[in-house]
Symmetry: C2
Subunit: 349 residues, 2 copies
């Protein structure tokens, strides 16, 4: 982009004069926002890798660096809270770069009137989560905004990790023939939050899958599997993650619907709310693209990990240069998965 364009806002004002909730939803509008506003202004080779974090050359050593803000509503849900998410979400983004998480920063934006007890509970969740994820919280910041200008508690976390020599993990390393492995059932996190928000009652509460992916990812990397790309299935769910990778590489990802595990109660909740579980956010699931010759071994390594015991091969990469994800349904019909314009569920993380 030329410097001289900068006076004019690159998102046509006629189309979107204001920010919509959908601009934060992980779908088409969010892509547009990132491409036309953030990348247009900030583009540089490191940012342009379009991955969950940045790999930073620093005098020989490679670091990974990532950031994420958390605005989930409600703050607490079965299986976790905003503090758990703020640790695991950011740690998982580092792992998706093939990095071992090391250091975490925390930025709190508190709304005047937040019960001190709530803050303490969130902070305790974060301490336990950091311990479980084997990451050190090393610096932080707190701001307080006036009543009605926030929503209790927002948390940003940024993290630094180190990357073993030789690893090149990211969408650009995906190639035809790669096998896609999913680490477990999908849709739990989004449905756990929505069930609380909407007051849905099931026989047993749907638990969020939120968890640190350190152990299963390290099992792959230390097991010597040729891993080409890792992606956690957060906002936009499995479908959006696969579509982003297919688009980035201009290849086709072909998946099998029957291979994708979805819990019965998650499916029921999705049906009540008219949602597709493939687009629902997860906070402890990822997809790994691995070289075909390593697929069986990768699957076995994952299935030995408690957090990936239900890992499954869900598809493969083909050379068709359409940048599409096609899914063969349980009745054998192929359909193309498309990026939603927003997200089905706002404020899920």
């Amino acid at each position: 982009m030329s410097r001289f364009d900068s006076l004019q806002c690159p998102i046509p004002i006629a189309d979107y004069p204001i920010v919509l909730l959908a601009h934060g939803g992980g779908g088409r509008l969010m892509h547009e926002l990132i491409e036309r506003i953030f990348r247009a202004a900030f583009h540089n080779p490191l940012l342009d890798t379009q991955h969950d974090g940045a790999l930073l050359p620093l005098d020989g050593e490679r670091l990974a660096f990532t950031t994420d803000s958390f605005v989930v509503h409600p703050h607490r849900f079965p299986g976790g809270d905003i503090g758990t998410l703020a640790v695991y979400g950011t740690v998982n983004d580092l792992l998706m770069c093939g990095a071992r998480p090391r250091y975490l920063s925390l930025g709190f934006i508190l709304e005047e009137g937040l019960p001190m007890e709530t803050l303490w509970q969130v902070v305790c969740s974060m301490r336990d989560a950091a311990e479980r994820a084997q990451v050190q919280i090393v610096t932080g910041d707190t701001k307080v905004v006036d009543r009605g200008k926030g929503d209790g508690i927002f948390i940003n976390s940024a993290a630094i990790g180190t990357v073993a020599p030789g690893l090149q993990i990211g969408p650009t390393s995906v190639r035809p023939g790669d096998v896609a492995i999913l680490s477990g059932d999908v849709g739990r996190h989004g449905m756990a939050v929505m069930a609380v928000r909407e007051g849905l009652e099931f026989e047993s509460a749907i638990e969020s899958d939120c968890a640190p992916l350190t152990a299963p990812v390290m099992a792959l990397l230390e097991g010597g599997v040729e891993v080409h790309c890792l992606r956690d299935l957060t906002r936009g769910g499995l479908a959006s993650a696969l579509i982003e990778i297919a688009m980035a590489r201009q290849l086709t990802v072909q998946i099998e619907e029957r291979a994708i595990p979805v819990d019965g109660e998650v499916r029921a909740a999705c049906e009540i709310l008219g949602l597709d579980p493939l687009y629902v956010a997860n906070e402890g699931r990822f997809v790994a693209f691995v070289a075909a010759q390593d697929a069986a071994r990768a699957l076995a390594l994952l299935q030995r990990q408690p957090l990936a015991a239900n890992a499954a091969i869900i598809g493969e990469v083909t050379a068709e240069p359409q940048g599409l994800v096609t899914m063969r349904s349980v009745i054998g019909v192929n359909r193309i998965l498309s990026l939603l314009s927003g997200e089905q569920l706002p404020r899920i993380c």
Copy 2:
């Protein structure tokens, strides 16, 4: 703190059952919040250095890592906007660790309904600020919250810098005899924002001092000055920064009121609003504690820098172990500066 204490909130509920604006103000309540909630839960040797950022040992190389969130209201003020602050504020925190800023992450929390044009202007400010501060924006994240649950735009930035071998800059390195040098006049940023917020009119608008401190700090470090501590004078202003250092080291800092430059219109605005300029936030000023034998040279090096042309020696460190800041007023009376309970000005950064 023992693990077994963790079920009970360590800020007495009877005193502060809810978060107050003052808990974000850089004063006594914020100290309590950090000590009793955040440090109680997260304490570790790196966090316990109580500096603006963390120095991270990483296989020989030392990194500095810091984070800051920005919630300034209004978003734009004479001399800058929330985007400028989000770059300079975080870069300056790294410099206060003696680090050269390298990489920046950005986390946006946008409120539904924010004009897209406003976002674009802020993003352009950040691009220009990053260029001026010589830092690369390498990763980011965006969340959108529903109307009435935010305030247009909040920004978190985190940054990584590298630290030259041998440097030990921080409150713990301050010692008796050290000379305190202030890099310029104080109170501009806070008064620039307040003048807009309160509709105060002066002959000329008060301009924020917000600026990247890269050049003056590097002039000291590369000039071989024995720098013991650097502190930028943000929330809580000059007075709070000095008090924090005196408390951390349990030494006394003695300063001269007449040596502290305050612009005439800043002083006038402070008088109208009943504020003390020593407690007003700055975004481009710092205090350096240097070894006495290097003080004159340090002052000369700073005065050669446009951003520190009015640098002045304002006091020295004495061995009295009270952890106090004492100021001799223009009429020769000594008084003790105390930490305010909140900040005079909420949402100034």
